[in-house]
């Protein structure tokens, strides 16, 4: 596993957000104070693994996730998908790379176009990327829904007619319809209630096992990461402070911040540590 070439390689990625300068600062041409949201982050995502990205609110997890698919342009660093430089790509090449790295957003209430039915949204992905099977629309939609354990009955509905869990499943189905190798899930369960969270976590596990898709799973809830991730990366103030096997990191944290973070959640049941 370890000597395998990583599917997604992130090296030295950096992103600063300039704070707005006041008028007097602008006149004086003093440098704007920058906030470094992502600071020299490097990690690798292996094929078929679930890497948990942990950290408190504001630690730069979402910014990092968005930098990888270039929803936000990173200021520096290397991002490679299967050896292809993501940052150098543009136009159709970039769109193809984005197809291979799909994203699931935190808020399932806002991540689906309110005017599109489930079937339209799913089929659009297939048609745009000319996915195999997309010519037969009905079957394509049914397959896409089945992958996330939804029945074909909801195909004609619009997002507002669905529950939060159903919406998130549709968003996942939409991402999978593009045929990605990497799934970047940005807090995919934190907007959902607990019983739905559990079902969705199982779903992510199933997707990894059945489709072999690698998942970067961003979450602020350590319990969620303990439940699902093979390895975990802990982020604090834009920096990765610790990366390792989930059991090792949670069982025997090396970094002070990781220790503090774990201490703040004393009830984590580390099933993997025990086994």
């Amino acid at each position: 596993m370890t000597d395998q070439l990583p599917l997604l390689r992130v090296e030295g990625v950096m992103k600063e957000f300039g704070l707005r300068r006041t008028a007097s600062e602008r006149v004086a041409r003093s440098a704007a104070e920058a906030h470094r949201a992502v600071d020299d982050v490097s990690f690798a995502l292996r094929r078929g693994e679930i890497l948990g990205l942990a950290g408190e609110s504001g630690s730069g997890k979402t910014t990092l996730a968005r930098c990888i698919v270039r929803l936000i342009e990173p200021d520096a660093g290397v991002i490679e998908l299967d050896g292809v430089d993501v940052r150098a790509a543009s136009g159709p090449e970039l769109r193809e790379l984005r197809r291979r790295m799909q994203m699931v957003f935190q808020d399932p209430y806002a991540s689906l176009n309110p005017r599109m039915t489930v079937a339209t949204a799913l089929l659009e992905v297939g048609r745009v990327h000319r996915r195999p099977g997309a010519e037969n629309g009905e079957q394509f939609v049914r397959d896409a829904l089945e992958r996330v354990h939804l029945g074909p009955g909801i195909a004609t509905r619009r997002p507002r007619e669905l529950s939060g869990g159903q919406r998130q499943r549709v968003a996942i189905a939409r991402a999978l319809a593009a045929g990605p190798e990497v799934l970047i899930a940005d807090e995919p369960v934190s907007a959902l209630d607990v019983s739905v969270q559990a079902q969705l976590l199982n779903l992510f596990g199933d997707l990894r096992d059945e489709l072999g898709v690698a998942i970067l799973f961003v979450a602020h809830q350590l319990a969620v990461i303990a439940e699902i991730a093979d390895r975990v990366a802990v982020m604090n103030r834009g920096r990765l402070v610790e990366v390792g096997e989930t059991a090792a990191v949670f069982g025997n944290p090396q970094d002070e911040y990781t220790k503090a973070l774990l201490a703040a959640h004393p009830h984590i049941r580390l099933s993997r540590v025990a086994s």
């Binding site: 957003f105 806002a110 005017r115 659009e124 939060g164 991402a175 907007a191």
Partner: protein, 296 residues
């Protein structure tokens, strides 16, 4: 699942699926206010379209035996100073005015929405340039511009047909742009990028359909403004030329006899009011918060 619920966020309230679906289907889901408004507008449009069938007299048919006769069953709105039937003239005038209003409202709308959507989506220099052009257009006195166009092309409806769209697109562009600035940060718009869609698809298929709603609501107000503009120009003698009728020119004709024959100016004026009330109720009803993002 004790491992999961440590930090479990409270879930959002469940959606009353069936009720919502029923609500959202077609006109039945609209608030009463919007239904009444739509009814009034539909009635006026129907009456205007059927003017030749409904009107008991020709619009320019003189009758010197019946000058300034009060409203009666044979002359519902009375007659004017040359004995013309005001009701018939009003119907024909409504026909002309509504046709022009619809054209000068709904031709600039898609153009403005598209320009505004692109400005908001791309941001940067494109946005700055478009935003300044919009500001200039809106800052320019609308009425003066239309009169200037009329001065060039001559009196008649042509001036309105040319002058209004030159400026009106900017109102929709401003509205669409400001909505787009918010919408482009919404996850569903970010998703179009993450899904590898082209910008063209993102704007036309995903953003514009969601921008249309506020613009259509605004257009109901715009129609009233345009109808009033038409009536004002006709009142000034810059609209349809005599003997053809426009609502504003009928009112202008009747003004001199307002004290002796109130009906000539008042009743066509009330038709303008009725249109304004109808369009206002429709727009107000459509913007009802419960339906946000709901009407098909």
């Amino acid at each position: 699942m004790s491992a999961v619920d440590v930090l479990g966020a409270p879930g959002p309230p469940p959606v009353e699926t069936a009720a919502w679906r029923r609500r959202a289907r077609g006109l039945r889901g609209l608030p009463l206010q919007a239904k009444i408004g739509a009814g009034i507008l539909a009635f006026l449009v129907l009456v205007a379209l059927l003017a030749p069938l409904i009107a008991p007299y020709g619009q320019n048919q003189l009758d010197f035996d019946n000058i300034l006769s009060a409203p009666s069953p044979s002359h519902l709105f009375g007659t004017d100073s040359t004995g013309r039937d005001v009701f018939s003239r009003t119907l024909y005038a409504l026909r002309v005015d509504l046709a022009i209003v619809v054209v000068v409202t709904y031709i600039p709308l898609p153009i403005g929405v598209l320009i505004g959507a692109m400005a908001g989506y791309f941001g940067g220099i494109v946005d700055s340039v478009v935003a300044r052009v919009i500001d200039v257009m809106i800052a320019f006195p609308f009425f003066v511009l239309v009169i200037a166009v009329i001065a060039v092309v001559g009196p008649g409806v042509k001036g309105v047909l040319i002058g209004v769209p030159i400026v009106a697109w900017a109102l929709y562009a401003r509205l669409a742009r400001s909505e787009m600035l918010v919408m482009r940060e919404q996850p569903f718009m970010l998703a179009t990028t993450a899904l590898g869609y082209s910008r063209r698809r993102a704007i036309l298929r995903h953003a514009v359909p969601n921008l249309m709603r506020p613009c259509l609501i605004y257009s109901t107000l715009d129609m009233v403004v345009n109808l009033l503009l038409l009536a004002s120009l006709a009142y000034l003698g810059l609209g349809a030329q005599p003997p053809n009728a426009e609502l504003g020119s009928i009112v202008a004709d009747g003004q001199s006899t307002l004290l002796t024959a109130w009906w000539v100016a008042t009743l066509p004026g009330l038709v303008v009011v009725l249109f304004g009330v109808g369009a206002g109720m429709l727009g107000d009803g459509l913007s009802d918060g419960r339906l946000r993002g709901g009407v098909q």
